[in-house]
């Protein structure tokens, strides 16, 4: 028993089944990420002044990852085109390129970006103690210029005991009144070796840069985490379509394989599309 219109198109709709299926799935994914983005919007709108950070993520690395994902979108559509033109070797290489790009993207994220964050420390200073740490915050100047106050001291946690934290400061806290620190920089500056001692009783809350740290990191890790899971899913599906089992399907029915690659490619483009929005919202704005 064959299911009709698996490969050929139904005359009145002009579509084959999986084409509709994947677009329906993508519609549901739009709603899923829509829910997450709406959380981002409302958390950001409602953030108290100074609570929504800027410039905490590594922009060059993020840009490179964006470029990698864009390239993988190009290679996957070229893989599909190769199949349609019945060039299996070309397909195989393009698919390998796509998979590699996906793996690189995930590796950069999971082996570099996220661990970098987990090792970074941030302490929110209590409102009443902000004056005491003015030399690390520069709020007098910021207030004059109408900018949001800085309420956090960040850097690498050298050590802590029952009463205080010893933090190797980030440049923005080491030299807060420098105008160059007002806006995030493209090339991130390394942590300075200027050490600050912060009394624990002056700290509202202090953690490493984990999801629990702030609404910003909660949304960052959740959205990029879910996006990453989608990238992984795509990589797994593509790998299956690249392994020798796909050659057998190609020999039996190349159009069937082409359709499967097209459908997975559509999913992959959608994943790229989401990243196109995630990147500026978290890294740049």
């Amino acid at each position: 028993m064959e299911i009709p219109y698996t490969i050929s198109t139904r005359p009145d709709t002009g579509l084959w089944n999986a084409k509709i299926g994947i677009w329906l799935f993508l519609a549901s994914e739009v709603m899923l990420f829509g829910g997450l983005f709406s959380a981002y919007i409302f958390l950001r709108i409602d953030a108290a002044p100074g609570m929504w950070p800027h410039g905490l993520l590594n922009v060059p690395v993020g840009t490179m990852n964006t470029a990698i994902l864009i390239m993988s979108s190009v290679t996957v559509v070229l893989a599909w085109a190769s199949l349609k033109m019945r060039r299996y070797r070309a397909y195989w290489w393009y698919m390998l390129a796509t998979i590699s790009c996906g793996v690189i993207f995930l590796t950069v994220k999971l082996a570099y970006e996220w661990p970098q964050k987990f090792e970074h420390f941030g302490a929110y200073i209590k409102p009443e103690a902000l004056g005491k740490y003015e030399k690390y915050l520069g709020n007098e100047r910021r207030a004059e210029k109408g900018m949001e106050p800085r309420i956090e001291i960040t850097g690498h946690l050298h050590s802590q005991n029952a009463k205080e934290y010893e933090v190797a400061l980030d440049p923005v806290n080491a030299d807060p009144n420098n105008p160059a620190m007002d806006r995030p920089r493209f090339f991130p500056l390394p942590v300075t070796d200027k050490i600050a001692t912060i009394e624990k009783e002056d700290v509202e809350r202090a953690t490493m840069f984990l999801p629990t740290h702030s609404a910003y990191f909660a949304s960052y890790f959740t959205i990029t985490g879910l996006h990453g899971m989608h990238v992984l899913g795509g990589v797994l599906v593509f790998t299956y379509m690249w392994l020798p089992v796909s050659k057998r399907l190609y020999q039996r029915n190349p159009e069937h394989l082409a359709n499967r690659v097209e459908v997975s490619g559509l999913f992959w483009h959608f994943v790229d599309l989401i990243w196109i929005f995630v990147f500026p919202l978290f890294y740049l704005l």
Binding site: I3, T6, N17, I20, L43
Partner: protein, 626 residues
């Protein structure tokens, strides 16, 4: 089988034949089947087990409501062995266990009971047959969706047996309570009731999404030749819209569930504002989140969900009404139009579940307007059903008993929703028993009656045998009476001011004790309600026995015992793999009952149109006999 088969390319001819004769082992045939009929039955049986379980949870709750603080006789002693010593020590229910029962009754009935049976079971079994298709477009995805449901349901069940017990923050899982419940010493961060609820829910949602994709694609692509959109049985239209609701409304809730999971496990603050104090200690979270955000995302699904619960029942009722009044459904076009409008509007009414959150008058006016608007197509549908009865030759078969009872029961449920659509009236009625009565009237003597009707109706197609009529009536009458004894007084309790989720049933509250309504105080009404619930439980026993007994010993019937017109009745009973011996072609509409000039009082959809027949519309050119 059809034209497209010849277009398959480079097809190894031997492989094709092999596929036809390939014998499946037990596991591939019955357990991991990709056949829509088997999957439909799996959903049906699994869903009915969950319905029964959810019903038992309710019966337990009703003890506490009628006899608060008293030990449950007989079984009370050994319930703690099942649910843990913290549930019912000495057979007396603790408040936490009551809350767990309430939260899980709601969750299981809706997501593991009604949706799987109404949408997935009936849809899977009937829709491909009704559109003349050999199966769903994506059979493997279909199997995956069933197993995702089974896993999700099992996780929900397991949550009862972990330390801390099952989720107890309502089926709505509002934060901040839901973020802090089931936390603390002795409670596992992953395997606790509330977190398992979230985890199980993700599986249930995945199951629905996969199912929805399958249904929509199947209905669009696999309709038989001649089966145009306006010749579809109303049941198929209802399932089509339901699938869209599931597809687009569930994902924002899935996003919210992921975020609440993060709140619980990773200690984020998506839904938690700053400054929270739990058990006297300030909580160490970043804050900055909002409980309102959870409510918006939850109810964005929550409202379309209630239409998911009712639309399949509308569809079933439509089929059975036409069949048992021997005339076409009145107002087919209006029915289709209404069901589409309901589907669309259901996405923009959700905040009527949030009247008491203090929203401003502008947004409140918007949602009140859309909510009242959506009642219009519902009334159109119900009216069309009532009018369909007029002038019919009504036969009160068992399916028809449940179907005709559905009409006034749903009417009561729907009409009692109108006051709730206004934020002013809802100020008083929100969170009272009035609301419980309203939605239960729709789902219990509403949808569930539709499901019973559908089971009795399509049982012969699935098994080749009829369920016993006498015991069907024994099932029906007490159930109908008990439903009303249970839920009608709840309106009164609600209007008197009795709240939902009161663990003591109102015993300790003035509003429930200081005046009588129709002779009993609000609290005293709990007694007849509970007894009716338990009797209704007993009334389901004939149904359960009838169902299983009739599979093997029911009266054998032919392929079309109800003398119905739609395409599923042209297939053998039960249909073989591939469904139809000859692929059907549809020549006419779905309800050609009592056509003038014909000898039988029904004409099936695949009967060719005689040149002498007068029909309203010209058939598609390809189908006019040469």
């Amino acid at each position: 089988m059809d034209a497209s088969a010849s277009v398959e390319t480079h097809h190894d001819p031997h492989a094709h034949i092999e596929h036809e004769h390939h014998e499946l082992g037990f596991w591939r045939k019955y357990i991991f089947s990709t056949d829509h009929k088997v999957i439909g039955i799996q959903y049906g049986l699994c869903g009915m087990v969950f319905l029964f379980f959810g019903f038992c949870l309710m019966m337990l709750m009703r003890w506490q409501l009628a006899y608060p603080g008293q030990a449950l006789p007989v079984i009370g002693k050994w319930l703690p062995y099942i649910f843990g010593p913290a549930s019912m020590p000495d057979g007396k229910m603790t408040p936490d266990f009551y809350n767990s029962l309430g939260a899980m009754h709601g969750t299981i009935m809706i997501f593991a009971g009604v949706v799987p049976v109404a949408f997935a079971a009936f849809g899977n079994f009937v829709v491909p047959l009704q559109i003349g298709a050999p199966d769903m477009t994506f059979p493997k995805v279909n199997a995956a969706s069933f197993w995702a449901f089974a896993v999700g349901g099992v996780i929900m069940l397991i949550s009862f047996f972990v330390p801390g017990g099952a989720a107890k923050s309502g089926w709505t899982s509002y934060t901040p309570l839901a973020a802090f419940a089931d936390t603390g010493p002795g409670i596992n961060p992953f395997f606790n009731g509330q977190t398992l609820w979230l985890t199980g829910f993700v599986f249930l949602i995945t199951s629905s999404l996969l199912g929805a994709i399958n249904f929509i694609t199947t209905i669009i692509q696999l309709r038989a030749k001649g089966l145009t959109w306006m010749r579809l049985p109303f049941f198929v239209w209802a399932q089509f819209v339901t699938a869209f609701l599931l597809l687009l409304a569930f994902p924002p809730l899935e996003a919210a569930i992921i975020m609440q999971w993060m709140d619980r496990v990773a200690h984020t603050s998506f839904f938690l504002p700053a400054g929270l104090v739990v058990n006297g200690t300030p909580v160490s979270i970043s804050g900055g989140g909002s409980p309102l955000l959870w409510q918006h995302l939850f109810w964005f699904l929550g409202h379309p969900e209630v239409y998911v619960l009712i639309l399949p029942a509308f569809g079933i009722v439509g089929e059975i009404l036409a069949n048992n009044s021997r005339k076409p459904l009145w107002g087919y076009k209006s029915l289709v139009f209404s069901v589409l409008v309901i589907g669309f509007l259901s996405f923009i009414v959700w905040a009527h579940h949030m009247w008491l959150t203090g929203m401003g008058s502008t947004v409140s006016a918007f949602f009140q307007t859309t909510t009242i608007l959506i009642s219009v197509p519902s009334v159109i549908i119900l009216s069309a059903f009532f009018i369909s009865l007029w002038g019919g030759s009504i036969r009160f078969t068992v399916p028809m008993l449940f179907t005709t009872a559905f009409l006034p029961m749903f009417g009561i449920g729907g009409l009692t929703g109108i006051p709730l659509a206004f934020n002013s009236a809802d100020l008083y009625l929100h969170d009272t028993y009035y609301v419980i009565a309203h939605f239960h009237y729709i789902v219990a003597p509403g949808t569930i009656f539709g499901l019973f009707a559908g089971i009795y109706y399509w049982f012969p197609k699935a098994t080749g045998r009829k369920m016993n009529d006498f015991w069907g009536k024994v099932h029906f009458w007490p159930t109908l009476i008990c439903m009303n004894v249970i839920f009608l007084p709840m309106f009164l309790q609600g209007m008197a001011g009795m709240h939902r989720r009161w663990y003591d049933g109102g015993q300790g509250w003035n509003v429930a004790n200081d005046h009588t309504i129709w002779g009993l105080t609000g609290f005293q009404w709990n007694h007849p309600i509970s007894w009716a619930a338990w009797i209704m439980g007993l009334a389901q026993i004939p149904f359960i026995i009838n169902f299983f007994w009739s599979i093997k010993h029911g009266e054998k019937v032919n392929d079309n015992p109800w003398e119905a017109t739609t395409l599923e009745w042209t297939a053998p009973s039960p249909p073989p793999h591939g469904n139809f011996v000859h692929t059907p072609v549809a020549y006419r509409g779905p309800y050609e009952y009592s056509l003038p000039g014909r000898e039988r009082d029904f004409t099936m959809q695949n009967e060719p149109v005689e040149p002498t027949e007068r029909i309203h519309r010209k058939p598609p050119a390809e189908l006019v006999p040469a």
